[in-house]
C-alpha cells in the first residue's frame, strides 16, 4: 500500500461511507443471480462430483497427443527394456538409443511449450533393466544446446554425465556419447540432463525414470504403472504454472486409469519437479505399501500420503476393495488444482 493519499482517496472514503450506510443493503440484496443463465463449459472434466456449482478446476479442451508424439496414458505402461544381447562373459547387455531433441509440446490445450526432450517425449523413455545387467546408452544430441544424461545409481565418474567428467559430461549439439555401466543397485531411479544451467535443463523436460529390478525379480502384480511428477514454467519466471504426472496436467482427471477391484497395483513414482521444494502423492479411500527408492523388498510404511523432494522416488503397492471413482493427487493441494490431479476408475 502506498502511503500517498490523494484528495480522491479521501473522497472515495467519504463517499463510500455514505453508500455503505444507505445503499449497501440494497446492493447486496437486489443483485440478481446470473449464474444459472451461463452457457455450458467448453470441456467439462470427466469427473462427476456433486456439491460444487458445476465446475471443478481443469483445463479447457484437450491437447493434441498425436502431435505431441505421446499420450500420458500410454506412458503409464511403456517400459523400455532395451535391445537385449549377451556379452562374452555371460552378462546381459541392454542397449538403448536416446536422442535429445527440441520439441514444442502442447502442455495444456492451446499452449505450446518449447520443450527439450529425450526421444521427443516427456518424461523420457522409462529404462528398465535387471540388477547386474550391462547398460549401454547411445546418446546423441539432436538439439542446439549441449546436453548430458546423468543417471542415479552406481557408475564410474566418467559415466556420470556432469560437466568436468569428460566427454560424457558435455555433449555438444550434433555429437554423441555412449554411457556404459552396470545396473545397480536395484531400485527405482531416474536420469536427467546435468548441463548448465541445471534447473532450466530439467524444467524444460530432460528427465526420465530408470528402473533396476532385483535379480530374483519383483513379486508379480496385476498392473505396473510409471508416474513421473513434474511441472511446466511456461512463462519462464522460474515458477511452475502447471503440474502433472506424465507431463500433461489434468490428463488422468479427464481420462481416469481403469483398474478392477482386487487387482494389485504397483506404481513407480518419481519426483523431478523443478522450482518447488516438495511434491507429494495422496491416494483416496485407500492405503498403500511404500518402498522408498525401491531398494528394499520390505515396505517401510503403510500410508495414504507420501512426500518426495526433487529426485526422490519410491514404489507404491495397493488394491482397491470397492468399485468407484478414486482421486489421486499431490496433497500439496495447490499443485492438484494446477494439474496434478488424477482418477482411478475401479470396476468390478
Amino acid at each position: 500500500m502506498s502511503a500517498k493519499i490523494t484528495r480522491r482517496d479521501f473522497l472515495k472514503a467519504g463517499g463510500l461511507t455514505v453508500l455503505g450506510a444507505v445503499g449497501a443493503n440494497a446492493l447486496t440484496k437486489t443483485a440478481p443471480d446470473h449464474s444459472k443463465h451461463e452457457s455450458k463449459i467448453l470441456a467439462a472434466p470427466a469427473l462427476q462430483h456433486d456439491g460444487h456449482d458445476g465446475t471443478l478446476p481443469g483445463t479447457v479442451g484437450e491437447v493434441d497427443h498425436e502431435k505431441n508424439g505421446f499420450n500420458p496414458t500410454d506412458l503409464l505402461t511403456d517400459f523400455d527394456e532395451g535391445e537385449v544381447s549377451t556379452l562374452p562373459n555371460g552378462q546381459t547387455l541392454r542397449e538403448y538409443k536416446i536422442t535429445s531433441l527440441n520439441k514444442n509440446i502442447e502442455v495444456v490445450p492451446g499452449i505450446e511449450y518449447p520443450a527439450w526432450t529425450y526421444n521427443g517425449r516427456i518424461p523420457g523413455p522409462t529404462l528398465r533393466a535387471t540388477e547386474g545387467d550391462r547398460i549401454r546408452i547411445h546418446f546423441s544430441n539432436g538439439s542446439n544446446h549441449p546436453h548430458t544424461m546423468h543417471f542415479h545409481g552406481f557408475h564410474p565418474g566418467a559415466m556420470d554425465g556432469v560437466p568436468g567428467s569428460g566427454p560424457g559430461g558435455n555433449v555438444q549439439p550434433g555429437d554423441s556419447f555412449v554411457y556404459e555401466f552396470d545396473a545397480e543397485p536395484f531400485g527405482l531411479h531416474l536420469y536427467h540432463c546435468h548441463a548448465f544451467p541445471l534447473a532450466r535443463h530439467i524444467a524444460k523436460g530432460l528427465y526420465g525414470a530408470f528402473i533396476v529390478d532385483p535379480k530374483e525379480g519383483r513379486p508379480p502384480v496385476d498392473h505396473e504403472f510409471i508416474m513421473v511428477m513434474s511441472g511446466f514454467d511456461v512463462d519462464f519466471d522460474d515458477a511452475n504454472d502447471f503440474y502433472a504426472v506424465n507431463a500433461i496436467p489434468f490428463h488422468f482427471q479427464n481420462h481416469p486409469i481403469q483398474i478392477k477391484v482386487g487387482e494389485l497395483i504397483r506404481i513407480f513414482l518419481v519426483n523431478i519437479l523443478e522450482f518447488d521444494l516438495i511434491n507429494s502423492f495422496h491416494l483416496h479411500a485407500n492405503f498403500f505399501q511404500y518402498y522408498p527408492t525401491g531398494t528394499s523388498l520390505t515396505p517401510s510404511e503403510f500410508t495414504d500420503t507420501i512426500i518426495q523432494g526433487q529426485a526422490q522416488r519410491g514404489i507404491l503397492e495397493f488394491t482397491y476393495k470397492y468399485p468407484g471413482m478414486y482421486m489421486f493427487h499431490a496433497h500439496v493441494t495447490e499443485f492438484a488444482e494446477l494439474g496434478w490431479n488424477g482418477m482411478f476408475e475401479v470396476t468390478e
Binding site: I5, T6, R7, R8, D9, F10, L11, K12, A13, G14, G15, L16, T17, V18, L19, G20, A21, V22, G23, A24, N25, A26, L27, T28, T30, A31, P32, D33, H34, S35, E38, S39, K40, I41, L42, A43, A44, P45, H52, D53, G54, T55, P57, G58, T59, V60, V108, P109, G110, I111, E112, Y113, V234, D235, D241, F242, F250, E334, E337, L338
Partner: protein
C-alpha cells in the same frame, strides 16, 4: 494588402497535384516496406502480446472479466487460473481477440464474500496477464437500490457542500470592495489548487488507459481544447458586450461548470472505487469532505457578490457545480472506464484554469481602480491554503 489577400486563395489543379505528390510517395514507401521490409529484420524474437483486463464483474458463483487486446496483433486466450487453480471458462464472442477488440471471459467459480482473488489469463503463447480482486463482493448492478445509493453519494459529495457554500451569499454581499476582491483572489487560489489536483488525477488515470489510446495525449487534448474553447466563448460574449454584472454572472456560471467537471471526475472515481471494492470506512471522512467542498460553493458566488442574481440562478449554479458528482457516481459505479475518467478530468482541468484566467482579468479591473497587491497575494494563498489545511485536518 491586395497581394496578400489574393495569393493564398488561388487553388489550382497544379496546387492539388503538388499536394498529392508526397502522399503518393508515402504510399510507395509503405508498399515497399510492406513487401520487402525495407532491409530491416523486423520479426520479433518472441510474440508481443498485451491484454488489458479492464474490469471484473462478480455475480454469485460467476466471475466475468472484460478484456481488450491492446497488443499489436490478434491473440488467443488459452487457459486461466484463479488463486493457483486452473479453471474452465468460456469467452464471448471468441477466444481469439483481434487488435483492440474486446471480449468477456466467464468463469463459474464459487467465490466467497470479502476474500481476495488473483486471476491469471494465459494466451496461446504462454504469456500471462493478471488481475487482482482485492475484496470480492457482488458487483452492483443497475437497480433501484444501487441507483439511489450512488445518487446519495453524489448528493453528499457534490450538491450539498456547494449549496452550503452558496448560503454564505447574503452575509458576504454586505462586505466592502476590498474584501470582495480578496474573496475573488481566494477563489482563484482555490481553483488553482483544484486544477492542479485535477490534472494530477487525470495523469493518474491516464496510466491505466491501454497503451494505444495514449492517456497522456488525451489529457493534453482535453485540457487545451477546453481552455481555448471557453476562452473563445468568453471573448465572444465580451464582444457582444452587455453590462459588467452580466459578465461577472457569466464567469460565475463558468466557475460552476469548471467545478462541475471536477466533481464529475470525483464522482467517477468514487463510483469506480465502490464497484471494485476499495472500501474505506469512517463517517468522520464524510464530514471532513463536506467541510472541504463547501469552499467550492464559496468560489462560485464570489464574482457575483456585488450583484443581485436571482435565487433561481444561484440554484442552477449550485446544480451545475455539484450535480455532476451524481452523474459521475452513476457512470463510475456501473461502467467505469479509465478513458472516460481521463477525458472528464482533462476537461475539468482546462475549464478550471480558464476560469482562473477569467477571474484574474476581473481582479485586474478592480486593481486598476485601486492598487491592492497584498490583497491579491494573500487572497490567492489563502484560497490554496484553505483546501490544503482542510485536507490536512481530514487525512
Amino acid at each position: 494588402m491586395t497581394q496578400q489577400t489574393t495569393q493564398p486563395s488561388r487553388f489550382t489543379f497544379r496546387t492539388l497535384l503538388l499536394l498529392l505528390v508526397p502522399i503518393v510517395l508515402l504510399a510507395g514507401v509503405i508498399a515497399l516496406f510492406l513487401t520487402t521490409g525495407g532491409g530491416l529484420d523486423l520479426r520479433s524474437a518472441a510474440p508481443v502480446e498485451d491484454l488489458s483486463i479492464e474490469r471484473y464483474i462478480l455475480k454469485r458463483n460467476l466471475i466475468e472479466l472484460q478484456v481488450r487486446n491492446t497488443g499489436p496483433e490478434e491473440l488467443t486466450i488459452a487457459q486461466l487460473a484463479i488463486n493457483e487453480a486452473i479453471m474452465p471458462f468460456t469467452v464471448t464472442p471468441d477466444t481469439s481477440i483481434p487488435r483492440l477488440g474486446r471480449a468477456v471471459i466467464h468463469i463459474n467459480y464459487p467465490w466467497s464474500d470479502g476474500e481476495a482473488y488473483g486471476i491469471t489469463v494465459f494466451t496461446t503463447n504462454a504469456i500471462a496477464f493478471g488481475v487482482d480482486i482485492p475484496v470480492a463482493f457482488v458487483t452492483p448492478q443497475p437497480t433501484g437500490g444501487t441507483f439511489w445509493g450512488f445518487t446519495l453519494i453524489g448528493l453528499y459529495v457534490g450538491v450539498i457542500p456547494i449549496f452550503l457554500g452558496i448560503f454564505w451569499f447574503p452575509a458576504l454581499r454586505t462586505l466592502g470592495r476590498r474584501t470582495m476582491t480578496f474573496l475573488m483572489a481566494a477563489t482563484a487560489g482555490l481553483l488553482i489548487f483544484l486544477g492542479i489536483d485535477t490534472i494530477a488525477e487525470a495523469l493518474e488515470f491516464a496510466a491505466e488507459v491501454p497503451g494505444p489510446f495514449q492517456g497522456i495525449g488525451l489529457v493534453g487534448i482535453g485540457a487545451v481544447a477546453t481552455f481555448l474553447l471557453l476562452d473563445a466563448i468568453s471573448k465572444q460574449q465580451t464582444s457582444i458586450a452587455g453590462s459588467e454584472s452580466d459578465r461577472r454572472l457569466a464567469i460565475a456560471f463558468m466557475i460552476a461548470v469548471g467545478i462541475g467537471f471536477h466533481n464529475l471526475g470525483e464522482g467517477l472515481a468514487i463510483g469506480a472505487a465502490y464497484s471494485v471494492g476499495e472500501i474505506a470506512l469512517g463517517t468522520f471522512l464524510v464530514v471532513g469532505f463536506i467541510i472541504q467542498n463547501i469552499t467550492e460553493g464559496l468560489g462560485i458566488i464570489a464574482p457575483v457578490l456585488r450583484d443581485r442574481p436571482s435565487l433561481g440562478r444561484l440554484a442552477i449554479m449550485g446544480l451545475i457545480g455539484g450535480g455532476p458528482a451524481i452523474i459521475g457516481a452513476w457512470i463510475g459505479g456501473y461502467s467505469p472506464s479509465p478513458i472516460l475518467a481521463v477525458l472528464f478530468l482533462a476537461i475539468g482541468t482546462g475549464a478550471i484554469f480558464e476560469v482562473v484566467y477569467e477571474i484574474a482579468k476581473l481582479i485586474q479591473k478592480d486593481t486598476q481602480r485601486e492598487a491592492m497587491p497584498m490583497t491579491v497575494f494573500s487572497g490567492v494563498v489563502t484560497g490554496m491554503l484553505l483546501l490544503w489545511v482542510t485536507g490536512l485536518l481530514i487525512k
